[in-house]
């Protein structure tokens, strides 16, 4: 049970401020798609528009090829999990989980608070709902909490109730709006694993919103990075990391942040001016290589400080031109490193560099990938 979700040029504006400008995205059936971006980038708005909780100003949403723009939230066959869990505070866990089924399977008269019990012919339906609730609650391991009220549950348990309430309807599409951000760090790691295994088990389409790049990178099939109301890049997590199409994406994905240096400085390293149309050169901390005499672009730098992370070491450096860059090397390599007078030299492999034009868009690399030569003999290609 899964569905393909297509967003076409979705726009949303509140008065003069435009929170979404022409967001287009295709989410394949059964895919785990994450929308990630800094707060205020419009990712939650986009999710609410998909759910039908807010109307879009322009654009079309299709689920399995048919437009759902005119459908109300209940008719879209979508379930949603909220950051604040959004459980009904006055209902027990059992009633909370059962609500979607009660609303769909029991006629209105039966659902009336006291009188509903008197309507005949509802026993089977009620028993079926009760069984479904029990089954789903066991799936997310909250079977023993059914009689409790949400106020008596921990954050993790509440999130499980919210998941169970979404699962019970067996929807084709799950929307999740930062479901883990109210949980503590340890629980977040556990729930991350549980949500991905839930996705595998249900096979439904998951659309997950988060501002946490770790969640985005670890859980998803594909990640759509949103900035300022636009989808800047949509690709697999690995692709986003190694091949960002926009400087903002490069900066947002990866920790510690990607190193960005000006073209002037790069030109000084290589001894060659860089062609016009390139404004920034960026490289990941792993691209910094301290092995002496290794091939690539040689750079002299001063060691500012280092951070031991157990397996890895983060090395904070300042180049002769004053730019600060960060390197990440295995701890074993760090202990064997020779630092004389706080000065340290490193090399960069040209193919590890990423070039961006003045507007931040990715540009072709001006270095020849096969020219793995010392810096002074690097060739530059105008492009």
């Amino acid at each position: 049970m899964s569905a393909k979700v297509e967003l076409e040029n979705i726009e949303k504006s509140y008065g003069a401020t435009q929170t979404l400008r022409s967001a287009s995205l295709t989410i394949e059936a059964g895919e785990f798609m994450t929308l990630v971006g800094p707060s205020g980038c419009g990712k939650s708005t986009l999710l609410r528009i998909m759910a039908g909780l807010q109307p879009q100003s322009a654009g079309e949403i299709r689920i399995d090829g048919t437009s759902v723009d005119h459908l109300r939230p209940r008719e879209r066959d979508i379930a949603m999990v909220f950051q604040s869990y959004a459980l009904y505070p006055h209902m027990s866990v059992e009633q909370n989980i059962g609500t979607p089924l009660r609303v769909r399977r029991l006629p209105t008269a039966v659902r009336l608070p006291v009188l509903g019990r008197l309507v005949p012919g509802q026993r089977t339906a009620r028993r079926e709902i009760q069984e479904a609730v029990r089954e789903v609650a066991d799936q997310v391991e909250i079977g023993h909490l059914l009689p409790r009220k949400p106020a008596a549950l921990s954050g993790g348990q509440r999130q499980r109730v919210a998941l169970a309430r979404a699962i019970i309807r067996n929807p084709k599409v799950f929307l999740m709006d930062e479901p883990l951000s109210n949980l503590d760090a340890r629980l977040r790691v556990t729930m991350r694993g549980e949500i991905t295994s839930l996705h595998r088990r249900l096979g439904a389409t998951f659309i997950y919103v988060t501002h946490d790049q770790t969640e985005a990178m670890t859980m998803s099939d594909r990640v759509a990075v949103m900035m300022d109301g636009e989808i800047v890049q949509c690709a697999s997590p690995q692709e986003l990391y190694t091949n960002p199409q926009d400087l903002r994406v490069a900066r947002f994905i990866g920790s510690p942040e990607i190193n960005v240096v000006s073209t002037e400085e790069t030109a000084r390293w290589t001894g060659q001016p860089l062609p016009d149309g390139i404004a920034h050169i960026a490289f990941r901390p792993e691209a910094i290589d301290f092995t002496p005499k290794s091939a690539g672009i040689g750079v002299d730098a001063r060691l500012l400080r280092h951070e031991l992370l157990g397996h890895d070491v983060l090395v904070f450096l300042q180049t002769d031109q004053g730019t600060e860059v960060t390197g990440r090397i295995p701890a074993a390599q760090w202990s064997g490193l020779a630092v004389a007078d706080g000065q340290i030299a490193f090399t960069l492999r040209p193919e590890a560099l990423l070039a961006f034009d003045p507007s931040g868009k990715r540009a072709p690399l001006p270095f020849s990938p096969d020219g793995m030569m010392p810096a002074d003999r690097m060739l530059s290609h105008a492009s």
């Binding site: 209940r74 909220f82 959004a86 459980l87 009904y88 608070p113």
Partner: protein
């Protein structure tokens, strides 16, 4: 455990706390004294009333004498029945109208919402005395004077309730309402089964306010009610005091006691529920 700690804290009352408690006790005495006089007069012989010295307790205890007299000589129970019908009727319609209005003002986006809310605030400043004459003429024109309807109608729409509930609904989390919409509930179901249970303290507070003010209201019933069998408690009491037993203070006070008792008792019992209702909503 906590009790002993509280007792320990009690030992350290400061002078300021003594002063404020003394002040509060004095106020409590001033407010309670008329009730005490009402109660004690209903139990004492009439000749004790006009003696120069004041006695805290009746010299001659008349027991239930004036109560029996009050219940038999005047239609006290009818007054009470009318009071219940009118104040509950008003409250019911007020809740049924104000809750949807307040929900729309609190949670829906629509053109003119701000203007409508401004009108609500403005209407809060208009007392019943202002539209009294047109209302009277209107009720007279449709021949509805001297009915339960006439006594209730002006209070059916309570802007105070709309204002109070709107404030309460506004603080209800949007995400829960969104979840309910995705779960498939209609807007009416969301309002009555999700939002209203979350606003019980506000609704209870308003109910108390509404019930007391209409149980005790003398002004409007005096204008529209003529027949004895439709009189509300204060109107009945006023009528009774004027005409039949102007001199019979004991019976008058007994009647007053009987008529104020339901509200007093309801308050005493509901007080605990209130506090619980208010503390329960603190838990999210």
């Amino acid at each position: 455990m906590s009790k002993t700690r509280q007792a320990g804290a009690g030992m350290r009352y400061t002078l300021g706390q003594f002063a404020s408690h003394a002040f509060l006790l004095a106020l409590a005495f001033i407010f309670m004294f008329p009730f005490y006089v009402m109660l004690v007069t209903s139990f004492r012989a009439p000749q004790e009333l006009f003696t120069p010295e004041f006695n805290w307790l009746p010299q001659v205890f008349t027991g239930a004498h004036y109560y029996i007299e009050s219940l038999t000589a005047t239609p006290v129970l009818t007054f009470m029945k009318n009071g219940v019908i009118i104040s509950l009727g008003i409250l019911l319609v007020q809740l049924l109208t104000a809750i949807p209005c307040a929900y729309a003002l609190a949670k829906f986006e629509f053109r003119g919402r701000k203007l409508l809310f401004a009108i609500v605030i403005f209407a809060l400043t208009v007392p019943i005395q202002v539209p009294a004459l047109p209302l009277f003429l209107g009720l007279n024109a449709i021949g509805a004077l001297d009915t339960y309807f006439a006594a209730m109608m002006p209070f059916f729409l309570s802007v105070f309730a709309i204002f109070l509930f709107r404030q309460s609904f506004k603080s209800y989390p949007d995400e829960i309402i969104h979840a309910a919409r995705l779960d498939g509930m209609s807007e009416w179901a969301i309002l009555w089964t999700i939002v209203v249970p979350g606003s019980v303290p506000a609704i209870a507070a308003f109910s108390v306010f509404s019930l007391t003010s209409h149980w005790n209201d003398l002004y409007w019933p005096m204008i529209v009610i003529r027949s004895n069998e439709l009189m509300t408690p204060p109107l009945g009491l006023a009528y009774f005091a004027d005409s039949e037993s102007g001199e019979n203070y004991g019976a008058l006070m007994a009647t007053a006691t009987i008529l104020t008792a339901p509200l007093m008792l309801a308050f005493l019992f509901a007080q605990r529920q209130f506090i619980r209702g208010i503390t329960m909503t603190g838990v999210k």
